[in-house]
């Protein structure tokens, strides 16, 4: 990978992993509040304790993989991040379309309410994770025939 791409990949990984680490730790610290925030989405609220239990470690683990591990692990971490962000965005879009005015819960307690900025942020994070996947992709190799 060219030096320039390598540097860009590192910057993006630091930024994305930083956001996910912060979000995961804050959610874990305020797990009970986070559970309420998830339940407020009114989308299968009976599973909110499970989501509050599992989402923070998923975020932290994928962030650590993106930050510290080899290429395949980074890609796996980025794929998990894209998947989580996709689900978060769908949940927010559903709540927004139903007129449910709630905190998004993106960073645990004190998160901003769902609004255009929430979607913009998630779109940006998906773009960053996709860029990491792209920069870490398998290089085309010249083969002789």
């Amino acid at each position: 990978m060219p030096i320039r791409n390598r540097a860009l990949s590192l910057v993006l990984r630091l930024a994305l992993a930083g956001v996910f680490l912060f979000a995961g730790i804050e959610k874990w610290r305020g797990a009970h509040e986070f559970m309420e925030q998830i339940a407020n989405y009114q989308w299968y609220p009976e599973f909110s304790p499970w989501a509050a239990l599992l989402l923070p470690p998923f975020e932290v683990a994928s962030a650590l993989a993106v930050l510290f591990m080899g290429r395949r692990w980074r890609q796996a971490g980025a794929v998990i991040m894209v998947g989580m962000l996709f689900v978060f965005t769908v949940a927010m879009a559903r709540a927004w379309s139903l007129g449910i005015n709630i905190e998004c819960g993106c960073f645990g307690k004190g998160s901003p309410n769902i609004g255009p900025l929430s979607f913009l942020r998630n779109g940006l994070l998906i773009a960053v994770a996709s860029a990491i996947l792209w920069l870490d992709r398998e290089r085309p190799r010249l083969v002789s025939s």
């Binding site: 909110s48 993989a65 796996a76 398998e138 025939s145």
Partner: protein, 188 residues
């Protein structure tokens, strides 16, 4: 020997299987660590079916009368925006009352709650208690009918003063100071 060589770009092979395998490993580690660390919490998340809370301190600030248990009401103690009011008679008040409570029967003589509402000042929540829940509820409903303050939340202590005392919450005894100043009007 001549050998014709042509160089072509091999299509990018996306290692889905390898990435998926690692994603599964990350997922398993996440689930296991989340489960284990939750057990180490002082108050672990309960994973049984979620039930939305039906009582909370913030909800008690709503501008309507509601009945709360002594335990729930105790969370309002010491707050600057909360006033406790005793709806029992003066003798019972002197024998024992919630610490900091005013004697409502004295300050609301002839059914006029004007003096009490004056005492409320900037307080947003009034906790009324009596000998029983029903007695306090009647007083609370009367106050709500007479006040024009829409931001005032009135709470009735479930079980009356006995419930508060039996729960072991803060009680005081002694003469009613407000009663002395208004006793001429309240208790002729």
């Amino acid at each position: 020997m001549s050998e014709t060589q042509s160089e072509t770009h091999r299509p990018v092979a996306l290692p889905f299987a390898q990435i998926a395998l690692r994603a599964v490993v990350i997922s398993v580690v996440s689930v296991a660590s989340g489960w284990y660390l939750n057990q180490l919490r002082p108050h672990p998340l309960a994973l049984q079916k979620y039930a939305a809370p039906t009582e909370c301190a913030e909800a008690s600030l709503a501008p309507s009368s509601s009945v709360l248990s002594a335990q729930a009401v105790s969370s309002l103690c010491g707050r600057d925006d909360v006033l406790f009011a005793d709806a029992r008679d003066e003798v019972q008040y002197e024998q024992g009352h919630v610490t900091g409570a005013v004697h409502l029967a004295c300050t609301s003589s002839r059914g006029d709650v004007g003096q009490l509402l004056g005492q409320l000042g900037g307080k947003r929540t009034l906790v009324v208690y009596g000998k029983s829940t029903d007695e306090a509820r009647q007083v609370a409903d009367g106050i709500l009918r007479q006040t024009k303050r829409r931001d005032l939340g009135v709470i009735v202590l479930d079980g009356g003063f006995a419930a508060w005392r039996d729960t072991g919450l803060a009680c005081s005894s002694g003469a009613c100071e407000n009663c002395e100043s208004s006793s001429g009007n309240a208790h002729p």
